[in-house]
Symmetry: C2
Subunit: 252 residues, 2 copies
């Protein structure tokens, strides 16, 4: 059954949801729903009603982190027993706890974080990482979906939501924070820009290309980012202090 | 005469000087001197005494920015009239003004900033940029050396010291500042590190691989970096303020 085509409802067709739905559609039957009728239908996806989407045996939620609570409260009553629900949030402790609390015990739950999007996956998703946290699910079903994602070329990484959030605060969290701060400075490419500066501009462009709300949610819904921001502030202030009292030489 | 082999004295064989001397030696006769006898002699370079080095018709100074004043005061009396002196400092206004003030009028002066080093030039210097500012020099000599550097594969960029320093503060200056700040945080590579995070780690590694004194000098001897640091501080504090009062949701 591994690699066999499954029916998947993709709930939410925003920037990430649309991308993920079209990737899934290359391997599976994908029924897509968006509350926004103006969203275009991703390639290979069948556009369906909300109820049809939630009637699929597997439902993948592609909604913002801050919408998760409201969405789960709404869909909890609409899902058939035995449905497998996966989220795709870029933080994991918060949505995993929400799903455990708000979805009935007959619903199976895997928390996932597909670590790519329309930008990083523009040349395909082969080899890109996906964090995979079975929360409340039959072991064979978890194994099947791990294999399904691997069959799509992804690097599936088993990791607890807690470990995910701790590592992300000091990797993605700090990258987005720096990118957004530098985004405020309107840096320009320079004919004398070094290779390292070009990498810095790439980071600014990539992080500022994501929606602002995603950035805020990544910081807000990952409690480990507070420690990251605190340490960053200390390090920056120490460095600024070093130069504050600097004496300029003559000839400048 | 363009591309013809010239005799060059390279004064200083530190991390950059040694690299630059070996690159020059592939095209020219290079006489190298270091005050530190333990420095190894770069490939293709003839190790000579200080006086022999300074007797070359072209002398390239590869000393730290902060040593320039002392070095120029010392060598001013030792250089023969008509000698061409080029510096290689990563800032330009300060050493250019120093050279004009401290070297006798019979000495010709070109300020240069070869924008590479042993790390960025590890696979060769073809296509890498070199800022080139003729300060007090016969136009034909300036043209000859611009052509000589182009014949080595470099991208020669004519630019005034002032423009150089302004652009560098907000490109190399900010990159090194961010890299050094993040260097304090001991970031680790992560199995779930995004592509942007890997770029950030590259920046930290590249900038922290340069000597600490070079970092300090780049900030200290480029007066435009004060404005850069000031704007960075404002942007970071604004961003930190946004998150300071954040309310964490339940389920975390």
């Amino acid at each position: 059954m591994i690699g066999a085509s499954m029916e998947i409802g993709v709930y939410g067709l925003g920037r990430f949801g649309g991308f993920w739905a079209s990737q899934l559609a290359a391997f599976h039957t994908v029924l897509g729903w968006s509350r926004n009728e103006n969203r275009s239908t991703p390639a290979g996806v069948r556009r369906v009603s909300e109820n049809e989407c939630l009637a699929a045996p597997v439902v993948i939620l592609c909604v913002t982190i801050s919408a998760m609570e409201e969405v789960l409260e709404k869909i909890a009553k609409l899902l058939a027993p035995g449905t497998l629900v996966m989220d795709t949030c870029s933080v994991k402790v918060y949505p995993a706890n929400l799903m455990l609390r708000l979805l009935p015990p007959e619903i199976e739950i895997i928390a996932t974080h597909p670590m790519f999007g329309p930008d990083s996956g523009v040349d395909g998703i082969t080899g890109l990482p996906m964090v995979f946290s079975p929360m409340r699910v039959d072991e064979r079903i978890a194994q099947l979906w791990s294999s399904n994602f691997e069959a799509m070329g992804l690097k599936v990484i088993d990791m607890s939501p807690k470990q995910h959030d701790e590592e992300m605060a000091f990797s993605q969290g700090i990258t987005h924070f720096i990118g957004r701060v530098l985004g405020e400075l309107d840096l320009n490419s320079s004919i004398i820009g070094t290779a390292a500066y070009k990498k810095l501009l790439d980071i600014v462009q990539q992080t500022c290309n994501d929606p602002w709300d995603l950035f805020v949610d990544l910081q807000r819904f990952n409690p480990n980012t507070a420690a990251m921001r605190g340490r960053l502030q200390v390090a920056i202030n120490l460095m600024l202090d070093k130069f504050e009292s600097i004496e300029l030489p003559e000839d400048i």
